[in-house]
Symmetry: C2
Subunit: 129 residues, 2 copies
DNA sequence: CGGCATCCGCCGGGATACTG
DNA sequence: CAGTATCCCGGCGGATGCCG
């Protein structure tokens, strides 16, 4: 009985987690959002600087990604009126809070990168027949 | 000098993080990998049970995702010889370790879901002109 | 049940050109 | 510099059918 009750509870909690994960993935699970948030983690950055710091992102995708993140309240867009035009992007408190789990993910990647690469090599050589 | 040195160090560390993030996103940044890992977090699960528990995944994508995750050493595939066929998928130690940062992400989503939804609604009403 | 093979639609996203 | 507008392609991924 006790075991069973525990299991039901944990199953419910697990379902909730899975649902949350799907939510977060729908929001920031695209190709660039996470990288943009990471690039803004330390300080506000201007548009071109962002584009230079995020390897491989196109102007179009940077614009779209920034707009979505602003819509979700993860960052703010500030126009400083001068010539040439100057627009700064900065994380909101919510956006800043996201950098904490992102850091965990990055740390995980750092730690297991070697293992994963090795596993791939082993798998590939074994399935090359 | 001291400030400058600190800044250079942090910039380097930041670049490393960004690189790690790109790595992890290239591996598990697709539409389903994270959800599959989450679905296996508690215990080994069979193919059909997985498909039922992950809402919306097709047979094809489940197969492909499982193969990639096995190749990366995040899970194991075990065939139990009986009728009807029975195949169990289970996380490896590496895969299990990934559930920790994933849990952080899910918790973040849980905590900020309301804020984000509200921000979206506000943005949408303001840009409906 | 647990797959694999094939076909195909869609859209994410790159390239390019143009504006303020 | 900081975008917007268009065009267009590749491949992700869904649907379907077949096999051990």
């Amino acid at each position: 009985m006790s075991d069973r009750h525990t299991d039901v509870t944990m199953t419910a909690r697990f379902s909730a987690v899975e649902c949350s994960l799907k939510d977060v993935l729908d929001r920031i699970g695209d190709k660039w959002s996470i990288l943009v948030v990471a690039a803004l983690a330390r300080e506000p950055v201007r548009f071109r600087a962002l584009q230079r710091s995020i390897d491989g992102i196109s102007q179009r995708m940077l614009t779209l990604t920034l707009q979505r993140l602003e819509r979700d309240g993860l960052l703010t867009r500030t126009v400083i009126d001068m010539r040439p035009p100057r627009v700064e992007y900065a994380l909101t408190a919510t956006g800043q809070s996201l950098t904490i789990p992102l850091r965990s993910l990055a740390d995980w990647a750092e730690e297991h990168r070697g293992t994963i690469t090795a596993s791939r090599a082993a798998w590939d050589s074994q399935h090359s027949s």
